[in-house]
């Protein structure tokens, strides 16, 4: 048993405060005759334990206990805790809900989750380069997507991923709500975010930004495959996407009125399901996008081709078969790492299988026409598209066409 000799400094209603010979202030229980200035001995048993006294000696609602400082503190704490919980619940109720996912593939591949006001809720790097760069990017939850993207692009540029030559950026966006099929809000979002970027701050060279829309499936897939939705879409798509903005020496020039062209996302889901192209996993939506984008091609083809071949490593589908051998400057291919390091291949380079494919596709389209209510215009476009397609695009189509031919034989 230890004893301390202490001096009484203060006598309160419930306890006394003493200064021990060791220099510590201690609360002790009250005993008769105690007075300020007393030099007394105390034992461990004399140390005041607030809980014991306030609960056992005083009832909670006795006047003394209720108004004692310690009890008041307890109540204050309880009030504080409950108010914090309340505020938290309110905050949670009012907190922004994830609305869409936006991916930016330069070669570092970023993906951000935004709310309906296009404020960033989360940003993640989809490959090592992006993750490394993100450690340098300061962003806060709730910041506008434009501001965060601006900061990311500046950082990307500082690290040499955007150079003075031609640069390709692929922006993909998808609404989180799987029920929303309308492309308009996605288009609006991408347009709103991209239009506000200050391009001069991160590039002096040429910048080609393409945008594609994606869907809920892509979000899920991108999560499970650790790739961005843009990369996922590109891997899925047969043909490239048209560029939206071209930046020359910091001057942005829109190549299209809207970043994303309307495609079959607008169409009812049933069509997608019943379409023969769905059978082998090729999305109807994608085919439509390809077909709709093709008619504009003749006018834009030269520019696009030039952009395509710059070797910036913009993820692009179906070009892993050696088509790029024609292109001279593929320098940045090594930076890939997100699984799609091919180049955009807008124009076909080899036409040998063209005739067969086009014929087959024509038949296929006819079949599509007969089975599903696809507009005549769309089918004609498809034919045109197929004529322009290179062999690289044909792997999936051949499979599709086999199925289609089967359908064709049946009647």
């Amino acid at each position: 048993m230890n004893i301390k000799n202490v001096k009484v400094m203060e006598v309160k209603s419930d306890y006394a405060v003493v200064l021990s010979s060791e220099g510590t202030f201690i609360r002790i229980v009250l005993k008769p005759g105690i007075s300020v200035g007393d030099h007394i001995y105390i034992t461990e048993a004399d140390v005041y334990k607030a809980e014991e006294l306030s609960i056992s000696k005083h009832t909670l609602f006795s006047k003394r206990a209720f108004f004692s400082k310690r009890t008041a503190f307890t109540f204050a704490r309880m009030a504080l805790v409950s108010s914090v919980v309340l505020v938290f619940m309110l905050f949670k109720a009012l907190s922004p809900v994830a609305y869409a996912v936006l991916s930016v593939d330069i070669n570092p591949s970023f993906q951000m989750v935004v709310d309906a006001a296009y404020n960033v809720l989360d940003v993640e790097g989809k490959n090592d380069e992006a993750r490394q760069l993100l450690t340098e990017v300061e962003w806060k939850k709730g910041q506008s997507a434009t501001a965060v993207l601006q900061r990311i692009l500046e950082e990307v540029s500082d690290n040499g991923y955007i150079h003075d030559g031609d640069n390709h950026i692929l922006v993909a966006a998808a609404l989180i709500d799987s029920k929303k099929k309308d492309i308009e809000p996605v288009n609006q979002m991408v347009e709103s975010i991209l239009d506000q970027l200050d391009y001069q701050s991160f590039t002096e060279g040429k910048l080609i930004i393409s945008a594609i829309s994606s869907d809920h499936t892509a979000i899920e897939q991108s999560l499970s495959q650790v790739i961005s939705i843009g990369t996922y879409e590109l891997e899925k798509r047969i043909a490239p996407v048209e560029p939206y903005i071209e930046v020359n020496h910091g001057q942005a020039k829109k190549l299209m009125p809207h970043p994303i062209k309307p495609n079959k996302q607008n169409q009812p889901e049933e069509e997608v399901e019943t379409s023969p192209s769905t059978a082998d996993g090729t999305d109807t939506e994608e085919t439509t996008e390809v077909t709709t984008s093709k008619p504009e091609k003749p006018s834009k083809a030269p520019a696009t081709e030039e952009k395509t071949n710059n070797g910036n490593g913009v993820p692009h589908p179906s070009n892993n078969n050696g088509n790029n051998s024609n292109n001279s400057n593929n320098g940045n291919n090594g930076n890939g790492g997100n699984g799609s390091n091919g180049k955009p291949n807008v124009k076909p380079t080899e036409p040998p299988v063209e005739t067969d494919v086009s014929t087959e596709m024509t038949d296929a389209t006819k079949t599509t026409e007969s089975t599903v209510d696809v507009s005549t215009e769309a089918s004609t476009e498809t034919v045109t598209t197929n004529e322009n397609k290179g062999p690289s695009d044909n792997a999936n189509e051949n499979a599709t066409n086999k199925d289609l031919n089967k359908d064709k034989v049946k009647p």
Binding site: K7, E10, E22, G23, T24, F25, I42
Partner: protein, 222 residues
């Protein structure tokens, strides 16, 4: 000291003294529980009576009956009751509590404590608050006291402290040759030490200084 047995205490005078010293807390605890009061460090008659009773218990204790502490408790209790009875007889029919002579009050110390209390309140502090901020670790406490004493010697720090009504952390860090983190974590305690040593609170100063010395003595012993 704790290893001295009752048998040794019964036979050797030196061993007995050490044995009694070792049992001081026990005697104080017994007195306090019998009287219901705290034992005053100086001139507490009850404690003297208990000490005498304890000494007698060493002589009269025979092994095998019960534990020595149990036996000594009974002896002390009986002696104290006898003492109170005598006091009662002496003072007639006065109530028991009043028959126990009140310990001498140290009026100087009381005045100093009241002075310190009012000064602390200017800084928004009370003795009660200091319970929470007192450094628990002995070395930390000693260091905080040393830093406070050093800072209290510098007039302009004390002046500044009274101006801003809080501890001038940066200045104290320099004066105490310590870290900002240390001063900041013990700012209220250091402020109190500065108040004690910058004012004319000699009794308090002595008590605080004794605490450092006492601790350092214990350190040396270890």
């Amino acid at each position: 000291m704790d290893n001295i047995t009752i048998q040794q205490a019964q036979t050797s005078r030196e061993a007995r003294e050490l044995f009694i010293k070792a049992h001081f807390p026990f005697i104080i605890y017994t007195v306090s529980s019998v009287t219901g009061r705290y034992v005053v460090v100086e001139n507490d008659e009850s404690f003297s009576v208990a000490l005498e009773a304890f000494n007698g218990a060493i002589d009269t204790y025979s092994e095998g009956v019960s534990k020595f502490e149990t036996y000594a408790t009974t002896v002390i209790k009986n002696k104290l009751i006898d003492f109170y009875r005598q006091q009662k007889k002496h003072y007639g029919h006065e109530p028991l509590e009043e028959t126990i002579p009140a310990p001498e009050r140290d009026d100087d110390l009381r005045i100093e404590i009241a002075d310190l209390s009012s000064k602390l309140s200017k800084f928004g502090l009370s003795f009660d608050d200091l319970v929470e901020v007192s450094p628990t670790h002995q070395d930390t406490r000693e260091k905080a006291i040393t830093v406070g004493i050093k800072a209290s010697k510098i007039e302009w720090i004390v002046k500044r402290m009274h101006e801003i009504l809080k501890l001038p952390v940066v200045e104290v860090v320099k004066a105490g040759e310590t870290t900002r983190r240390f001063v900041y974590s013990h700012k209220d305690y250091i402020l109190t030490v500065i108040l004690v040593f910058s004012e004319d609170l000699t009794r308090m100063q002595q008590f605080v200084l004794d605490s450092i010395k006492g601790d350092s003595h214990e350190h040396q012993k270890r």
